[in-house]
């Protein structure tokens, strides 16, 4: 069997589906020895994928326990498309999988929170916008100043379980509407956020002037029209948290 035409795909079949798929005569040596060698490779591959998930979702693993987490992980890496990703990306759909696997919204959201945290950690660096930079600007210049969501920032609503677990480290999180994840400098910072802050951050997903941002938020349908002062306070809170950057 020529290697590039068939040998390599045969070896992949054996790694994925077991030694019954290994064509006779591909490797030299006794069947026992060949099986032992193939097992080393299969175990290395499986172990690396499982460890990547453990390292990506330590809180989720701790919350549900190692054995259930491991069982989910083993099923997850057999899902179509999962192993096409590099190890660093392998956990992208794990939260949705946990939900489908019956873990409930709380556990799935905990995994989603951890994925957001990891994305913040590895996001592109950018200088955060500071209130000092805006202080002293003439009103017209201030309204024309263009800002955007910092590459490492995200805010969202999570299940109460996530708020409860993280509130042990971040005071005020248990009662917050949303969780803000930001990394203005070296460290990922977690802080409570209001629904309005999350909305302002979403509105700044693409570069937008402060004037247009305020106008768009004031037009947002809601149970109660957002008041300008509240929007400004949310904007200031996001800037203080390092969640915005000058575009």
């Amino acid at each position: 069997m020529r290697w590039l035409e068939g040998g390599q795909s045969a070896m992949m079949q054996a790694i994925d589906h077991g030694p019954a798929y290994l064509p006779e005569g591909l490797f030299a040596g006794s069947p026992d020895r060949v099986l032992a060698g193939m097992t080393v490779h299969a175990n290395t591959i499986s172990h690396a994928r499982l460890v990547a998930l453990e390292e990506t979702f330590p809180r989720t693993r701790e919350h549900i326990g190692h054995d259930p987490f491991n069982a989910h992980s083993r099923l997850f890496i057999q899902q179509p498309g999962v192993t096409a990703a590099a190890l660093a990306e392998i956990g992208g759909k794990f939260a949705a999988f946990l939900l489908e696997a019956g873990e409930g919204a709380g556990v799935a959201d905990l995994a989603r929170f951890e994925w957001c945290w990891l994305n913040a950690y590895h996001a592109a660096d950018a200088a955060p916008l500071s209130l000092d930079a805006l202080t002293g600007m003439a009103p017209k210049a201030l309204l024309e100043h263009t800002l955007a969501r910092h590459p490492a920032a995200s805010a969202g609503r999570f299940a109460p379980l996530v708020h409860d677990l993280i509130s042990a480290e971040v005071p005020g999180l248990a009662a917050a509407d949303a969780i803000l994840i930001a990394r203005p400098y070296a460290d990922v910072l977690i802080s409570p956020a209001s629904a309005l802050m999350a909305g302002v951050l979403t509105a700044a997903e693409n570069p937008v002037t402060i004037g247009n941002l305020l106008a768009s938020m004031a037009e947002t349908p809601a149970d109660e029209p957002a008041q300008l002062d509240a929007i400004m306070q949310s904007l200031a809170a996001l800037i203080n948290a390092g969640a915005l950057t000058t575009a």
Partner: protein, 298 residues
């Protein structure tokens, strides 16, 4: 055959791990450099720095200003029938652009296909067909990166029935064909020799030192089987006595080379790595009888 290809200093380096960032940076920043085994260069797996930014890049930049870096890739999958993984290659090229490593290397292996990636270094048969294919992929990588790379000999648990040449013959032919250099992993030689019933000393002696731009030393695990021990290249323990002897044997013939202490699992305290590095440095200082090579390529 090529001249030695390493712009790395012919001294000891260590694999850089996040848990060692602080003591390692302190060590290389000290006004009076540590003696003995203080690493004078560091190696990283570039795949750990493929994120857009964040703390890993800050640390890497900090080290890059102090010491030469070697990028030891584990993801190009040069032996894949699909060809080199271009996503990995572009990410590697970007990282090289931003951090200017002294050396770049990957493995004589493959890691799956475009639709199924295996986080492992799978073996390539030593055939003319595989050589043609592998050399073409090394060409593509070197063209994209604009530099010569090193290719590491693998740890083998399996030998192909259709092998047409020895590992050394394959590697020498590859270096001649592609113009790449060789990263000689001496622990891998011990592992492969034991698992495949080969003579480790003969394997070391068969290596032409000329293209060897870097040497790796690491530990391995051992499993007992009815058909004999199976050595597993896990980089999770001290360098074995047998690997130290093989290293000394190679250095006696080849002279001092940039030599890395690898320790990737069950990573110990930095001092333990320093002790291993000091041992390697001492062997090179005491054993090397061949003048240090002139580095032809950067």
């Amino acid at each position: 055959m090529n001249a030695p290809t390493s712009p790395l200093p012919p001294r000891v380096g260590v694999g850089l791990k996040p848990q060692h960032y602080v003591p390692a940076l302190e060590a290389v920043s000290a006004s009076t450099p540590l003696s003995g085994g203080c690493p004078v260069w560091f190696e990283v797996h570039p795949q750990n720095y493929f994120g857009a930014g964040g703390p890993p890049h800050r640390w890497l930049s900090a080290f890059a200003t102090k010491v030469p870096l070697s990028f030891h890739s584990v993801g190009l999958s040069l032996g894949s029938a699909d060809g080199v993984n271009f996503q990995e290659l572009e990410a590697l090229a970007a990282l090289c652009e931003s951090h200017a490593p002294a050396m770049v290397s990957d493995h004589l292996s493959w890691s799956g296909s475009g639709s199924n990636r295996y986080p492992d270094l799978l073996p390539v048969p030593y055939t003319r067909e595989a050589l043609d294919h592998f050399a073409a992929q090394v060409d593509r990588v070197q063209d994209r990166l604009g530099r010569t790379i090193l290719i590491e000999n693998p740890s083998r648990y399996l030998a192909f029935a259709e092998d047409e040449m020895t590992e050394a013959e394959f590697l020498h032919a590859l270096c001649a064909r592609a113009g790449c250099g060789l990263l000689l992993d001496i622990n891998n030689i011990e592992v492969s020799a034991s698992n495949l019933g080969l003579d480790a000393e003969a394997m070391v002696d068969a290596i032409d030192p000329a293209p060897v731009g870097e040497v790796h030393l690491a530990g391995h695990a051992s499993e007992d089987h009815a058909h004999g021990p199976l050595l597993i290249d896990d980089h999770g323990s001290p360098v074995s006595d047998a690997t130290w002897r093989l290293f000394e044997r190679f250095v006696q013939r080849a002279g001092a080379r940039p030599t890395l202490i690898e320790w990737d699992t069950d990573v110990p305290a930095f001092d333990v790595l320093l002790a291993e590095a000091a041992k390697a440095d001492a062997i090179m200082q005491a054993t090397a009888t061949v003048p240090e090579p002139t580095h032809a390529l950067a």
